[in-house]
């Protein structure tokens, strides 16, 4: 059979392969179980790309909150039971960048902890660092979750501390990642770079795919394990790969619709200029420039992994 096949053409995904891809493969077709309310800003049937309203004042400062984590070592805790209990020794750092004309790191917090379910574990003192013992539930996945939870805690502490001492009333805080657990922070949005699940029905999905650079989708409300308002935004620098340069933002579901829309407009004006370039960031354009810079500094502040590893080994020598 000589069916006329379209000749194959290819697009290289813009992200560095070690970071995976920004779009999950179950995005197409299947719908998630999330409870949706699509009519928050526009009725679902009239969804279209939204160009942000430009009349509102821009925030005096945009803050970016992010954290990095690194597993310094995996340990076995010996105790009563015949089988030693696994544990993770991890360093994590959270930081806050304030962009108000000049980007500066205004807050940084470092945490080194031992995560294990072993009841008899203690703090680990090494020559170069002390790892606090933080009990977790049993199971290898729980250890990793414990690290992630601790990072969220540190991030929230940092953002809270900044908000307490800052007198600004019109700043905008952008948290890297979902807003889970941080919805009580005012003027705060979560910034999600990857899309593992398609939350929207087919028709609305098409609207997101049709977004132009700097345009956003209408605001909608979604509820999975928790409720939040959300919208999609397309950054400059899109390629032919699916949903390229698209990020999802979310804010507290407690926010009235009008305020959420205003916040969405604000992000659509503030964030696109900060998108990164492919030759400078492996996750361009979604990894914003301040966040990329902050992550580099945070990773530096985690310290030299070899030094920490050696001192841990010499401290735990039996």
């Amino acid at each position: 059979m000589t069916a006329l096949l379209t000749p194959a053409s290819y697009t290289v995904d813009p992200w560095d392969p070690s970071y995976g891809i920004a779009v999950g493969d179950d995005l197409d077709g299947r719908e998630s179980s999330a409870r949706l309310d699509l009519d928050v800003e526009l009725p679902a049937a009239r969804w279209r790309p939204v160009t942000p309203e430009r009349s509102a004042a821009l925030p005096s400062a945009v803050l970016f909150l992010d954290g990095v984590r690194r597993i310094d070592a995996r340990v076995w805790v010996h105790g009563e039971s015949a089988q030693p209990v696994p544990g993770i020794v991890a360093s994590l750092a959270a930081g806050l960048v304030c962009c108000d004309g000049a980007a500066s790191v205004v807050g940084m917090q470092l945490d080194r902890s031992l995560y294990t379910a072993a009841p008899n574990a203690t703090d680990l003192k090494t020559r170069h660092a002390t790892y606090r013992f933080r009990p977790t539930r049993a199971g290898l996945d729980e250890l990793t979750l414990g690290v992630q939870r601790r990072l969220s805690e540190v991030e929230v502490e940092l953002a809270g501390a900044w908000r307490r001492q800052s007198s600004a009333l019109d700043d905008l805080l952008v948290c890297d990642g979902p807003l889970r657990g941080r919805t009580n922070l005012a003027r705060t949005v979560g910034y999600v770079k990857t899309h593992q699940t398609s939350y929207l029905p087919e028709a609305q999905m098409r609207v997101v795919g049709a977004l132009g650079s700097g345009e956003r989708s209408p605001v909608f409300t979604m509820g999975t394990s928790w409720q939040r308002r959300s919208w999609y935004l397309r950054l400059p620098g899109a390629s032919r790969s699916p949903w390229s340069a698209i990020v999802r933002l979310e804010c507290s579901a407690d926010l009235p619709a009008a305020e959420a829309v205003a916040l969405a407009d604000l992000t659509a004006r503030v964030l696109p200029p900060l998108s990164s370039l492919a030759h400078k960031d492996p996750r361009a354009p979604q990894n914003l420039v301040p966040i990329g810079g902050l992550e580099r500094q945070l990773r530096h502040r985690l310290g030299d992994v070899n030094v920490l590893y050696r001192s841990l080994r010499s401290a735990l020598r039996d």
């Binding site: 962009c99 108000d100 980007a103 400078k280 420039v289 301040p290 810079g293 580099r296």
Partner: protein, 596 residues
């Protein structure tokens, strides 16, 4: 006490640390880097000090001079990141790192400073110690102000011959201010007190080869501002001109009374020339052939033979220096009154087959004789002003340093060949005088510009021989050479090697890369190519790093427009009351009066 406590204590004591020893660049006992604190700065030539405690409780003070400073964005990976940082998108810090070359380790335990150690600016005693000023005792010669505004000293023991001698000053003409620095050094030597009781008897002989700028050393500089006076005060020097200067200048061409050929000054000026009698008696003939071109030729032996014959057979006629020569063909022997006549006699005698063997060895080839005569003839025009027997004896025409503290020999009106003759003859005469004197003290300073002309790297000449003699033996005889040149690379290596003090002003970038400037670290070499007038890099054996100094604006006039009050003394003959006495007077003749 932790480092943070130490830092706080330093701030409280008014000694804020300027930074910490950086750990990203390995520190060595001879070189380390300083991370400059955000609210501080370090510039090139700043003097800093840090401490290193040893296990036995002693503390090693490591002091050095900043030889490079680099600033960079930390957190930026691409050159274009600077725009993101400037736009406020990318967080980054500016980090400044200063490279310090260690000058002194006290006590001498050569350990590196430890990264993180507090570094502060050295001031007062610490600065003196870092730059070895504390070891100079009473031999501290102020030579200018450092970048930090404090005086910089030279160890005079390396100038006066005690431990070393001679100064070599290099730099581009016009911008490097070589002669100004040389005269400032002389001023400092005479007035700072390093000479103690000998200040009055110490002499300086300056050859002025380029212009009239050295003829006003005893005139106050009318453009000296209060600010510049304050700099002199800071150096402990009086802001005044030289007090005792005698200028020698060649006689004006065609002037029968032999008045000196100087337009810009009228006080303490003497003419100088050599009489034919002196020319013969002192065997000055070799200095006529002082070009680089000459010594390669075959006739050098002839010069000595002819000079010896003239010494033997020339005898003075009258008081004016004319001679007649014995044993020559009748009618040729004189009296001779001009250099041209002397040359004419030699030409006649050597050109004559019969008389030639009375002057030179019989085996001499005609070619050599002709070459000799050709060179001799070409010297007539440049030298006839300086070697003569036709001027009335006035008693004050010989060039001597005995009249004044500073003797300036003005050569700028003379052609190159005559300049060489004067420099050669004068240097020999003064060197011989010091040799006969037998003691090094009081010292005699010789300032000679264009050393590359008189003592070139290649070739040989009588002047070069004398300069080599000065460089190698002068130290013990008390003759100190202050030589200046545009290019040290073109000066005889043994002369430069014998200079204990090396000074560089603005250098040409090609010149700066030559090995003669190896004493300048790379950063200073680069800097020397953009040094401003008045900035010099001074290397002395005591201090491992050359110091950048700014010497103050001269307190003496360097050009006619700056001439202020005259501060010198004039022991020479008084100027004639009526300077027009010898001119024809309008009243005396019967011509029509001039139409005005």
């Amino acid at each position: 006490m932790t480092q943070a406590d130490q830092a706080r204590a330093d701030i409280a004591a008014g000694r804020a640390p300027v930074g910490l020893v950086a750990g990203t660049v390995a520190a060595s006992p001879l070189e380390f880097s300083v991370g400059v604190a955000p609210d501080q700065f370090l510039q090139l030539d700043d003097v800093v000090v840090t401490k290193r405690p040893l296990p036995d409780g002693t503390e090693v003070a490591i002091a050095g001079v900043v030889t490079n400073v680099e600033a960079a964005h930390e957190g930026a990976r691409f050159a274009s990141d600077v725009f993101l940082i400037a736009d406020g998108a990318l967080p980054a810090d500016v980090a400044e790192v200063a490279e310090v070359t260690v000058t002194r380790v006290e006590p001498e335990v050569y350990v590196p400073p430890r990264p993180g150690a507090v570094v502060h600016r050295a001031a007062g005693e610490e600065r003196d110690s870092a730059l070895y000023f504390d070891t100079m005792a009473d031999a501290k010669l102020p030579i200018g102000l450092g970048r930090d505004g404090n005086p910089v000293f030279l160890n005079f023991e390396f100038v006066d011959g005690t431990r070393g001698g001679h100064v070599s000053i290099s730099g581009v003409s016009g911008i490097a201010t070589k002669t100004s620095f040389a005269t400032f050094m002389l001023h400092s030597i005479f007035t700072s007190g390093v000479l103690h009781g000998e200040a009055a008897n110490t002499k300086a002989l300056i050859f002025s080869v380029k212009g009239e700028d050295l003829l006003f050393l005893d005139y106050a500089n009318s453009r000296l501002t209060e600010e510049q006076r304050a700099k002199y005060a800071q150096l402990g020097l009086p802001p005044q001109a030289f007090g005792n200067v005698q200028v020698f200048a060649p006689p004006r061409p065609g002037d029968p009374s032999g008045t000196p050929d100087v337009r810009a000054r009228d006080k303490a000026v003497s003419p100088f020339y050599w009489t034919l009698a002196e020319f013969c008696a002192q065997e000055l003939m070799p200095f006529v052939f002082a070009d680089g071109e000459d010594e390669r030729s075959q006739y050098t032996m002839l010069i000595g033979q002819v000079a010896a014959r003239l010494k033997r057979d020339a005898e003075p006629v009258g008081k004016d220096g004319a001679i007649q020569v014995r044993g020559v063909e009748a009618g040729r022997g004189g009296p001779l009154r001009s250099f041209e006549q002397l040359v004419g006699l030699i030409e006649d005698e050597l050109g004559d087959e019969d008389t030639r063997r009375d002057w030179v060895a019989g085996s001499t080839s005609t070619g050599s004789v002709n070459a000799f005569l050709r060179r001799l003839r070409s010297a007539v025009r440049p030298l006839e002003r300086l070697v003569r027997g036709d001027l009335g004896h006035r008693g004050d025409r010989s060039l001597t340093t005995s009249k004044a503290q500073v003797t300036v020999v003005d050569l700028h009106n003379l052609p190159d060949r005559a300049q060489r003759f004067v420099v050669g003859v004068t240097l020999r005469q003064e060197f011989q005088r010091k040799e006969q004197q037998g003691s090094a003290r009081p010292l005699m300073f010789v300032v000679l510009d264009e050393l590359n002309k008189y003592a070139p790297r290649d070739g040989d000449s009588p002047i070069k021989q004398i300069l080599l003699d000065v460089a190698e033996r002068g130290r013990s005889l008390g003759v100190i050479l202050i030589g200046a040149q545009q290019t040290a690379s073109e000066v005889e290596r043994r002369i430069v090697a014998n200079c204990s003090i090396r000074v560089a002003g603005r250098l040409d970038s090609a010149e700066a890369s030559r090995p003669e400037y190896g004493y300048l670290p790379p950063a200073q070499r680069q800097r020397a190519t953009l040094a401003k007038p008045g900035t010099m890099f001074v290397a002395q054996p005591d201090i491992p790093v050359p110091l950048a100094v700014e010497f103050p604006f001269p307190a003496w006039a360097t050009r006619p427009q700056e001439k202020g009050s005259w501060q010198g003394v004039d022991t020479g003959p008084a100027a004639p009351k009526d300077p027009f006495a010898g001119m024809p007077s309008a009243l005396d003749d019967d011509d029509d009066p001039p139409p005005f």
